[in-house]
């Protein structure tokens, strides 16, 4: 069987030779126009005068459009119809497109765009979380509140109450391939669009809407993206629409790719958050009550902010039993880029909040952070009958009985979902042992006792991440499989390839169902004309959903071949075996290719669609109750760091990870996701800093000012293993989703830095993210009591 094998990425041979095609590599027909946007330099204001004469007169310019020139309004929003392609009367953020230039080259279009004379009468801009709160500028009528129990009453009687607040910065996706699209006009007004998008169906939908044609008039194809990370879920809409509109108006092909600076300036990023907390706990660090207030900066348009903020609430528990809890979420509207999907989709911010709480609580009670975490873990499934009951003796039970292992902890999340697959007790125990956590904890303490300037820190943090789209209807997928008369197989499904290896994993499923080698399976570009009405490749759901849909399609064809061959041999079709390139039934044995040929000769259809919808999920996002997730994916990381207390400089010295990918479909690709996710998560929380100036302009708009991890920034020692146990839920070959969860392993890097800062003095360092050298110096000062 092909599944479970550590095979290379399906396009590896093309990638290493530079022959894999991205949008910008596709040869374009003659007469192709190249597009660029003219952007607002002002965060908020009224357009008073737009003079584009010089733009129109610039060399090579064919067409210049403002909102008024559009035949019909073009909207780019994935949710609320609040993102006009081009600003109408008001601009809402610095970077918003105001006009569109089409020229005979990319450079000509960009040069021309710089010649515009635009007068904007500025209006007061709402830039920060504080600005938005003061102006009550928000999405939805008020905050969303999820919770259970009576946290206020429990806080009033808690042995210790700890309070604090953390600022968590946003993150630029920095996919190496910037956003790009190419529109090719067809006969009769039809349009073909190539887009670097995680969501071809949305591109099709939005382009059709902008062109005023039914969706059947638009075909969208996505072979691959040069990275996505959530940044190509909705942010590619504007380019695809712009290209299609220009192509429709001129009947010429149109291509657009953002220059990197434009990409930073125009597109949305990870939401930055402020999370305030008040936690009641005992002297062992066992939490009795917790109140969170999450403030989420959404930017100028609604985009995907509501489900992102929901997911932050749904991960405010991470791996911990919170009996009395309230989570209040404020979705704040600001005059900045539209914060959008980014790997983890709010989950990482929610998880940083609770991990910060545990870090703070452990510091207050003077215990090791891992011990405090473990005593707050969800109860093991076997203890479910003890739903949240206090240990014998009630609240006065001895600390030992509580701290050893919180077997009396409940198993129900704050939103009412049973956690039936909790494996972190075992997973964390294994990681503590493999990473020599206890010994290294002592070694770090000994090092810190002897060194005044360099301080080390060590931290373990777990991940429990819910798998499924929280918008229940998105949990569906389709596939299309053809078997040709020579036994070769054409595979198509709704998932998109952005480097994660989805295509290879799904091809491994198809090859396994037919019992053939992977060379028999042709992986083909995602195409809205082959599989319609797909969901975005997002929420880590790609292989879960599309793997199942492909399995269904393959099995339909298998069953038809089985019935046909069994009839010939007077045997039971269910006895048929597809393995090792052969088909065996009732004493008959033949190569798969021959079976395909004979079935074709026998007038058997060898083409089938497949469909899958995730079972058992129900979710009420307003009440905050139900079972939003089919299952959870788990993992844990131990990170060791060193900081220089004079400069704030820091390094990750070592990282040890044990991650749960269920029964992995492809361990090599999954480990790649884990390593990449950890480094991206650690980058978010340590070195990647977005800076907007006081007028709302993003000043970190290129790699010169925005630093993502380089090869020299990754841990010197980096041990990554998979927790190789089948998924309890009935997923494709019992594998688990692996796209997003590992990003949150990077939280251990922030916690390790906090631990190092805490080694500098008696006070809690309250380290904010990203933990840049400046913030580390401030945290060191706080630890020493020199800063409030």
């Amino acid at each position: 069987m092909s599944v479970a094998k550590p095979l290379p990425h399906d396009a590896a041979r093309l990638h290493v030779t530079g022959t894999a095609r991205y949008i910008d590599d596709i040869p374009v027909p003659a007469g192709c126009l190249h597009l660029a946007f003219g952007l607002s330099p002002v965060a908020r204001g009224r357009l008073t005068h737009v003079d584009l004469a010089a733009v129109r007169a610039a060399p090579g310019v064919a067409l210049v459009l403002t909102a008024a020139d559009l035949v019909r309004p073009a909207d780019c929003s994935p949710s609320a119809h609040d993102e006009p392609l081009l600003a109408e009367d008001e601009v809402h953020y610095a970077g918003q497109p105001i006009f569109l230039v089409a020229a005979d080259s990319h450079l000509a279009a960009r040069k021309a765009a710089a010649l515009a004379q635009i007068d904007i009468s500025p209006l007061p801009a709402i830039l920060s979380i504080s600005d938005a709160l003061a102006a009550n500028s928000r999405f939805e009528d008020g905050p969303r509140i999820y919770g259970r129990g009576d946290p206020d009453a429990e806080l009033a009687t808690a042995e210790i109450v700890t309070e604090g607040e953390i600022e968590i910065g946003g993150q630029e996706h920095f996919y190496l391939e910037s956003q790009a699209a190419l529109a090719l006009p067809q006969e009769g007004g039809d349009m073909i669009v190539h887009s670097s998008s995680q969501h071809p169906t949305e591109i099709q939908h939005k382009v059709a809407d902008a062109l005023g044609v039914p969706m059947h008039g638009v075909r969208v194809e996505v072979r691959r993206m040069g990275g996505g990370f959530g940044g190509k879920e909705s942010q590619g809409n504007a380019l695809a629409i712009a290209c299609a509109v220009v192509a429709q108006m001129t009947d010429r092909p149109a291509k657009m790719r953002y220059d990197r600076d434009d990409d930073f300036t125009i597109t949305g990023k990870r939401h930055d958050f402020r999370i305030a907390y008040k936690v009641g706990h005992d002297a062992q660090g066992k939490i009795s009550a917790l109140v969170f207030e999450q403030f989420c900066r959404c930017g100028w348009s609604m985009d995907l902010s509501l489900p992102v903020a929901d997911r932050a609430m749904l991960h405010a528990d991470n791996a911990y039993w919170l009996e009395h809890v309230r989570i209040t979420s404020h979705r704040l509207k600001t005059n900045t880029q539209s914060a959008t999907a980014f790997r983890g989709f709010g989950g990482p911010q929610g998880m940083v909040g609770i991990e910060r709480v545990l870090d703070h609580v452990a510091h207050v009670v003077g215990r090791d952070g891992t011990a405090v975490r473990k005593c707050n873990f969800y109860g093991a499934p076997a203890d479910r009958s003890d739903q949240g009951a206090l240990p014998p003796g009630g609240a006065a039970a001895s600390p030992q009985s509580i701290s050893a292992k919180a077997i009396y902890n409940g198993t129900r999340t704050p939103y009412g979902m049973e956690v039936t697959d909790f494996i972190l007790d075992d997973l964390v125990a294994r990681l503590e042992s493999s990473s020599a956590y206890a010994e290294r904890r002592q070694a770090v303490a000994a090092f810190n006792a002897q060194n005044a300037v360099i301080k080390k820190g060590l931290a373990l943090s777990p991940v429990k991440f819910g798998i499924s789209f929280t918008l229940t209807h998105l949990n569906q997928a389709g596939a299309l499989v053809h078997v040709y008369q020579d036994g070769s197989i054409h595979l198509n499904h709704g998932g998109t390839e952005m480097g994660q290896g989805l295509f290879q994993k799904v091809a491994q499923v198809a090859a396994s169902r037919f019992g053939v080698g992977l060379e028999a399976v042709k992986i083909t570009a995602t195409d809205t004309a082959k599989v319609p009405n797909t969901s975005a490749t997002a929420a880590s759901s790609g292989s879960d959903l599309n793997g199942m849909a492909v399995r269904a399609a393959c099995d339909t064809i298998r069953d038809r071949i089985a019935v046909f061959l069994a009839e010939r041999t007077q045997s039971d079709p269910t006895d048929i075996v597809f393995a090792d390139g052969m088909v065996r039934v009732g004493g008959l044995e033949m190569p798969f290719a021959q079976a395909a040929k004979e079935a074709w000769m026998g007038r058997v259809s060898l083409s089938a669609t497949g469909f899958y919808k995730t079972p058992d999920i129900v979710w009420d996002r307003i009440r905050g109750t139900g079972r939003p997730f089919y299952y959870f994916a788990y993992g844990a990381a131990v990170t060791e760091v060193a900081i220089d207390t004079l400069t704030g400089e820091n390094r990750i010295l070592r990282a040890d990870i044990l991650h749960d990918a269920g029964a992995s479909l492809n361990p090599a690709l999954d480990i790649g996701q884990v390593e990449g996710g950890y480094v991206q998560g650690a980058g978010w929380l340590t070195m990647e800093e977005l800076v907007w100036d006081q007028t709302g302009r993003l000043r970190t708009h290129a790699p010169s000012t925005y630093k993502i991890p380089a090869a020299s920034d990754t841990p010197d020692i980096f041990n990554v293993s998979l927790y190789d146990t089948p998924n309890a839920a009935d997923t494709i070959y019992r594998s688990k989703a692996v796209g997003e969860p590992p990003l949150m392993l990077g939280i251990s890097a922030l916690l390790a830095l906090s631990d190092a800062c805490a080694a500098c003095g008696p006070c809690y360092p309250a380290l904010d993210a990203p933990a840049t050298p400046e913030r580390i110096l401030a945290a060191v000062a706080r630890a020493r009591g020199a800063l409030p």
Partner: protein, 163 residues
């Protein structure tokens, strides 16, 4: 604007092009020569997706004017090997999963190729610092470093066998 005539060698082939004085080498390669292996990532010399080899040095082709390449000998990823005949480094990146989305890969391998000529037997740390000018957003670099070290070891054994 007057165009300038430039002669250079690309992947062993003599090329004559007419370029604008301020045309960047990456644009000449991609748009005039259809050499699309080197990618455009940032156009400010930071990401390394456009890395080519020029007269024995790794060069970010997005921050060099084509006119500066007059008479130069340029090697791109296409000059290292082909899908049917992979270079040792290309094979190593494929087998060691040194790529995910693949966008950085051509520049990464081109840089690694030069690094291994500058230092045929690098330590892991030397690889990490030697490759630090090429960004990858997907892999966390672990498998990239592994790929470069595997190729170095393979190339060294081949050299020993030949001696």
């Amino acid at each position: 604007m007057t165009k300038t005539h430039v002669s250079l060698t690309v992947n062993g082939e003599k090329k004559d092009v007419l370029v604008d004085p301020r045309e960047l080498l990456i644009h000449t390669l991609r748009e005039q020569m259809d050499i699309t292996g080197p990618h455009i990532g940032c156009e400010t010399s930071h990401c390394g997706a456009c890395t080519v080899d020029l007269d024995g040095k790794s060069v970010k082709s997005c921050t060099m004017f084509t006119v500066q390449a007059e008479g130069a000998d340029v090697t791109t990823i296409e000059g290292l090997g082909s899908p049917d005949g992979l270079h040792v480094l290309q094979e190593a990146f494929k087998e060691n999963h040194g790529l995910q989305c693949g966008y950085c890969t051509p520049g990464m391998i081109t840089r690694a190729h030069r690094l291994l000529q500058e230092n045929p037997n690098p330590t892991e740390e030397e690889v990490r610092f030697g490759m630090a000018g090429n960004l990858c957003r997907c892999t966390g670099y672990q498998n990239i470093v592994k790929s470069v070290l595997a190729a170095a070891s393979e190339m060294n054994s081949a050299k020993e066998a030949a001696e």
